[in-house]
Amino acid sequence: MRGIRLFFVVCLICAILIVALPIFSFISSSPPEQNQAVLHGQHIWEANNCAGCHTLYGQGGFFAPDLTHIYSQRGETYIREFLFNPNAFHPASARQMPRFSLTQSERDDLLLFLAAVDQNATSFPPQMINVSGGLNTVVDAVPAASQAVEEVPDDPAEAGRFWFVRPPAICGTCHSLEPDVVLVGPSLAGVASRAETRVDGQSAEEYLRNSILHPSEYVVEGFNDVMQKNFGDVLTADQINDLVAFLLTQTENDTEAGA
């Protein structure tokens, strides 16, 4: 009996060492002091129980997407807009995120926290986990926050280009302007040339406008009907006009199509 008790004690010591190992390893790596704003952002994350639905480093709820690298995937502007009105972004999804009443400074600190997590997570995940769609190149499509306060260009086509990559339209999240590059929806390179022939009786302009306002009426072959349906509510009439004007410049011969 003494032998088996000794075996138990040895096992217990091994168990303690196994659990203590990462703690000592972490302490000995002397992690840098945390920015207070980041810690406040973490507090907001916890206070709103974000981990009840989302995961960071694969830890947390299983109801909503992993957010370990959401900062570099989506960019600051997108996340800021998303936090303000989350249900405008994935209206077709059954997973509706509650709208948390965060102040501007709380949103700032939460973003700093997400940026810090993004920077820290070097081993997880081995490849990007997308929120929706197939691939994700939103990092390139979403401009930096400093650019978000730029004035909207006067020229309608330029204004459309402006809104194409900015909230509330942010079409570049799902549509590429590179020929044959599919993000979630079809590439819009050369769309102006194709638009004329899509639906009988509809001009290119009518088709493009209708595709923004009523995307389910014509779904390009090979794609699913997953486009956001509320752009009529989210965008102003001017913004829609600008987007249509911009898309009409995307002809197959237009060298700018790949821009």
Partner: protein, 436 residues
């Protein structure tokens, strides 16, 4: 015969565990419904509150059951069939019920948000800590030399350490993530199974002809291996948080050690099941179910112990399947203990809850875990390998979630029938002698 305070408290704690378990089953079903297509209550009845409430109920249910089992185990080792300080036990038991009621109300009102892994708010955790210490002292002072009681106490001590680790202040989000993983791991993978294994070996003597010496040897050897396996399970998720080769190397040992520990426990149980005595309670059935859950979980865990796979699996339903099934192994032991103690308090070793709830619960638990694992496998391949978006994959696996929901309904029906049987055939004073 009049029941002692210890017997009444043990039965009360096990009954509390059962009520909490049924409530947990109900909330889990509501949580599962939120995974099915359109959800009209998506934002008004948020998932994170329900998920948090379910976790609170599960934690309180398991601790209530383990404490009830511990009290009963200790008092059966004594001639007077009571603990050493019955008056203190009576008050600790009553105050525990107050804590349970407050925690359940807090969870129902959404007041327990913010600590998803540990769930209870800091004051509740401190209260939980005090109660665990008190119960452990009460039981150790009643039967300190009994090997299953010693192992049970080590399990509860691990729970106390886990709660303390969770309460420590942290200086960075990496430290907090590390702390949370370790705290919940110690509670879930070391504390729960150690206390449950102690109960299981105590139960083996009730339905089997195994000798006390065999039980004493078995409980120490299995508990030692399970403690090591629990430690390896605890550090598994850390490979996603800390980029450290040493951790990866250590967790790789889990590929062999985790299944080995639970297979050795299963072999001990098989020996006990092969040498039945005349007792006809269903404790043996529940222990067999618990062992099955643990062995399947151990096999899942062996896969997860490979660092290169863990990074793909973390955050998928495969991990949840592992957690749910593991915890259900503990719950099965508690249900076995409830079955056995209730039968003995009724004055016989006859069935209390019947076979129907057993099969319903077994089917519901195993099927729901397998379906979650299937959903997890789909997630790993589609979301993590083929880079299809999380939301799109979730819609694709709705059929699996539908079947999962059906399995949870079966599980809930089984638990309700178990609860009704447990209540209808509850021990009444004067019913007969208590077997020891």
């Amino acid at each position: 015969m009049k029941h002692t305070i210890g017997q009444k408290s043990a039965h009360g704690l096990l009954a509390t565990a059962l009520i909490l378990l049924i409530a947990y089953g109900l909330i889990s079903l509501l949580v599962a419904l939120k995974f099915l297509g359109e959800d009209g209550l998506a934002t008004s009845f948020p998932y994170q509150n329900m998920h948090g409430s379910a976790a609170v109920l599960a934690q309180l249910c398991i601790f209530s059951g383990l404490l009830g089992g511990g009290v009963y185990m200790a008092l059966t080792a004594r001639d007077d069939q009571d603990v050493a300080q019955p008056a203190l036990l009576r008050w600790v038991y009553r105050l525990w019920l107050v804590l349970v009621i407050l925690a359940v109300l807090g969870a129902a009102l959404g007041l327990l948000e913010g600590r998803p892994s540990l769930e209870l708010l800091v004051p509740f955790d401190i209260a939980l800590l005090i109660f665990l210490v008190l119960f452990m002292w009460l039981i150790l002072s009643s039967a300190a030399k009994n090997p299953p009681v010693i192992i049970w106490s080590v399990g509860i001590l691990a729970g106390i350490i886990g709660v303390i680790v969770g309460l420590l202040p942290y200086a960075s989000f990496e430290a907090e993530a590390l702390q949370r993983v370790i705290a919940s791991g110690i509670i879930e993978y070391i504390s729960y199974p150690l206390a449950a294994v102690a109960l299981a070996f105590w139960l083996m003597r009730r339905f089997s002809t195994v000798t006390p010496e065999w039980v004493d040897t078995g409980v120490f050897s299995c508990a030692g291996l399970i403690a090591v396996a629990g430690a390896l399970l605890t550090v598994q998720p850390l490979v996603n948080i800390l980029d450290n080769d040493l951790i990866s190397t250590v967790m790789s040992f889990g590929v062999v050690l985790i299944p080995l520990a639970y297979l050795i426990y299963a072999a001990h149980l098989y020996h006990a099941l092969s040498n039945r005595n005349t007792a006809t309670t269903l404790a043996a059935h529940w222990l067999a179910l618990g062992a099955l859950c643990w062995v399947v979980t151990a096999l899942f865990s062996a896969i997860n112990a490979l660092p290169d796979l863990q990074v793909y699996i973390a955050g998928t339903r495969l991990i949840e399947a592992q957690n749910v099934l593991f915890v259900f192994g503990v719950i099965a032991v508690i249900l076995g203990a409830a079955n056995q103690s209730s039968a003995e308090l009724r004055g016989s070793s006859q069935r209390v809850t019947g076979l129907m709830p057993f099969w319903l619960v077994a089917f519901g638990a195993l099927t729901s875990a397998v379906l979650l694992a299937c959903a997890g496998v789909v997630q790993v391949f589609m979301e993590r390998r083929a880079s299809i978006g999380f939301l799109d994959v979730q819609m694709l696996i709705v059929p699996l979630y539908s079947l999962w929901t059906l399995a949870l309904i079966v599980l809930l029906i089984g638990l309700v029938i178990y609860g009704l049987s447990f209540y209808l055939r509850r021990p009444r004073e004067g019913a007969g002698e208590v077997s020891s």
